[in-house]
């Protein structure tokens, strides 16, 4: 761990941000907190089931300027539907405009470095929002990203604009010659009455280890509609902590689908802060993992104002030696009367060595609310299996049919057809579903 501290401190010293204002103070606070706290161990309540310190205890390089990645490399990893998408390419954590394709016009979509946004038209937005996630994650991991947040990207969707081309964000690590640590940072502002689809995928090229520590903060204004789809389908040597922090500051609607299909150690933090009355949030997750993959979904819904609705459904299919962790927090603040908040986590274990830890956590300070939570861990329904087999469907196919249906409930929430199909093909292959 001292190696990581040295790596981060050296980088901080060498590349010290020379600007001022909110970026500078966040960077300073970040490095300080990181040095104080270090990387959380399992003694930290929020990291009890996920050994992130072990994963980071390796010889990483943190070289954001490595630009050996070519357009052809990017072509290899593009997601379906890319021909009509805006494609934002990050290499080792840093946005590369020359590898990216922006199809939307500048009066719809603004894409500028955070350091620039902090000075211009969006200064107030940056000042008020950048680093807000630290309030919910006062730990060394979030702080480590904050220290270099000034290298991040700012995206704005202008008010009254429906962005026709979805935003595909590829977070590419180039681990062909050495192990890579990367820390992408984005701040996304979705204006009043705007709509946008975000699709985010972590990708590692090469066979060395990679670790992505990504923080995305999203501000959603009144009447805006945001769809966030995250896909994780990497090899076992790729690990990450992804924090998506959504502030719904006006009455608005956000749909999120988080898919974890493969990887090393994966931690997804997803926060919804419902700061206006009448917000609507849908959080869906599917983890279909095997091997030694460890996936940890930590979610927070913070109901600050009255009349909000949130619905959360996470499903897991866990095979071989894989582990799933689910921790779902719902806060209902004193002013958040008439809140409706629902949460459910359902798991199917396919092997004797598969593991799941699931924990709902409700903290309610208002008296007139409807909240529910539930979790299940089990095997496939024997009665359903028998029914299918009694109609001539073989045992293997019957299991695949049931598991595919189980996963399908989440996949159906993806409203971008090419992405939904892409995920469906991966899941179907994984489950041996060929119908």
């Amino acid at each position: 761990m001292s190696e990581l501290k040295e790596l981060i401190q050296n980088k901080y010293n060498n590349e010290a941000f020379d600007g001022n204002g909110s970026l500078q103070s966040l960077s300073q606070k970040g490095i300080q907190l990181f040095n104080d706290q270090g990387i959380p161990t399992v003694k930290h309540e929020e990291w009890k089931y996920t050994r992130i310190a072990n994963v980071l205890n390796k010889d990483f390089s943190y070289a954001v300027n490595a630009t050996a990645v070519t357009k052809a490399d990017v072509d290899d990893v593009r997601l379906p539907g890319n021909e009509s998408a805006n494609e934002l390419v990050f290499i080792n954590g840093i946005y590369h405009a020359e590898l990216s394709t922006v199809r939307s016009s500048a009066d719809e979509l603004v894409i500028v470095p955070l350091s620039e946004a902090a000075k211009g038209e969006y200064k107030a937005v940056v000042d008020a929002n950048l680093g807000h996630s630290a309030n919910y994650h006062p730990d060394g991991i979030n702080a480590m990203n904050n220290a270099f947040a000034y290298q991040g990207l700012f995206v704005a969707v202008k008010k009254n604009k429906t962005v026709e081309h979805p935003l595909y964000c590829y977070y590419i690590n180039d681990a062909r010659s050495n192990s890579v640590l990367s820390q992408p940072r984005t701040l996304i502002h979705v204006g009043v009455n705007a709509e946008v689809f975000l699709v985010e995928e972590e990708i590692t090229i090469g066979s060395s280890d990679s670790f992505t520590n990504r923080v995305s903060e999203i501000i959603v204004e009144e009447n805006a509609n945001v769809h966030i789809y995250k896909i994780q389908n990497e090899d076992s040597h790729s690990s990450c902590v992804k924090t998506t922090h959504v502030r719904q500051v006006g009455v608005s609607k956000v749909n999120s689908v988080t898919l974890t299909l493969n990887g090393g150690t994966i931690r997804n933090n997803l926060n919804f802060i419902l700061e206006a009355p009448g917000c609507e949030s849908h959080m869906y997750g599917l983890y279909c993992v095997k091997g030694e993959t460890h996936v940890d979904n930590h979610t927070i819904v913070d109901n600050v104002m009255p009349n909000s609705f949130s619905n959360e459904l996470y499903k897991g299919i866990i095979d071989e030696n894989a582990t799933g962790v689910f921790n779902g927090k719902i806060f209902v603040r004193q002013d958040a009367q008439k809140t409706n908040a629902y949460q459910s986590n359902k798991n199917v274990l396919l092997s004797d060595t598969a593991n799941v830890n699931t924990k709902p956590q409700l903290e309610i300070f208002a008296d007139d609310v409807k909240c529910s939570h539930g979790c299940t861990v089990g095997r496939l329904d024997e009665e359903a299996l028998f029914y299918l087999r009694a109609r001539g469907v073989g045992e293997k196919a019957a299991k695949a049919l049931l598991l595919h249906a189980f996963a399908g409930e989440i996949l159906d929430k993806i409203e971008l057809e090419p992405i939904r199909k892409y995920a469906d093909v991966i899941i179907s292959e994984r489950l041996g579903f060929e119908f």
């Binding site: 009665e383 029914y387 087999r389 001539g392 049931l402 249906a405």
Partner: protein, 254 residues
């Protein structure tokens, strides 16, 4: 077709079937009646291969094969069909997709090519008419939110699609109103073709007004204690199961 000899079975430690003998020839319709707890549904489950039951003795030959050497799916592929008393709800799997999978798995087993979409749709439409079932119902998740009648009609529809040589109807009449019962029974009757055999399990005689059996057997305490023609069912309806107990010399509780 089906030959059951001295079949004994238990669930956990409880002996339920205590020596069943039954022969069903091609084209015959046999009814099994009996009071609650006599072992009727156990017989259906054991024949279909439900794992909860343990066969402790006897043998069953189905179309020349030892039934107990076949997995549930292979029994189906060999031509056995069980219409469930409680059809299972399966969210996320439509009847159409499921039945297409089943039809093609059975065809594969028999060394036939899978059905193409056109053939399959044609067959579906034909069989839908048979049980007066609607396309929209078949596009929905299997049995999810279906009424009792819809579930049972769906069972008969699946039977029609899979074209078994032996169909076992496990209390198909339970939970049905008279109209639904008539539709289901008419569907079954249209599938009687002189070769296909049926084993109709029921508590009440009512169903047998519509599906007229060749033979009626009374199951009581795990044994077939009386067999006869269709008139036996009427006698049971009239006199109740108590007269069977009397015949067996058991005391009847008032």
């Amino acid at each position: 077709m089906l030959s059951i000899k001295n079949l004994q079975a238990r669930i956990e430690e409880k002996e339920i079937l205590k020596g069943i003998n039954l022969d069903i020839k091609p084209g015959e319709v046999h009814a099994i009646m009996g009071p609650n707890g006599s072992g009727k549904s156990t017989l259906a489950s054991v024949l279909a291969g439900r794992a909860d039951y343990e066969v402790t003795g006897g043998e069953v030959e189905f179309n020349g094969k030892n039934l107990f050497e076949l997995s549930p799916e292979d029994r189906s592929r060999e031509g056995l069909f069980l219409a469930f008393q409680y059809p299972v709800e399966i969210p996320g799997v439509s009847t159409t997709n499921f039945i297409k999978t089943a039809v093609n798995e059975i065809r594969k087993y028999r060394g036939e090519e899978p059905m193409d979409a056109v053939q399959f749709l044609k067959k579906m439409k034909e069989k839908m008419k048979l049980v007066e079932i609607d396309q929209s119902l078949l596009s929905r998740s299997l049995n999810e939110g279906f009424s009792g009648g819809e579930k049972k009609r769906n069972e008969i529809f699946q039977m029609a699609m899979l074209e078994p040589t032996l169909a076992i109807l496990d209390e198909t009449d339970s939970g049905l109103d008279i109209d639904a019962l008539r539709i289901v029974a008419e569907g079954v009757n249209k599938l009687r073709d002189g070769n296909r055999s049926f084993l109709v399990i029921t508590h009440y005689q009512r169903l047998l007004d519509y599906i007229v059996p060749d033979h009626v057997h009374v199951l009581y305490k795990g044994r077939i204690v009386k067999s006869g023609g269709k008139e036996l069912a009427l006698e049971l309806e009239e006199r109740g199961y108590d007269f069977i107990k009397e015949e067996l010399g058991e005391s009847v509780e008032a």
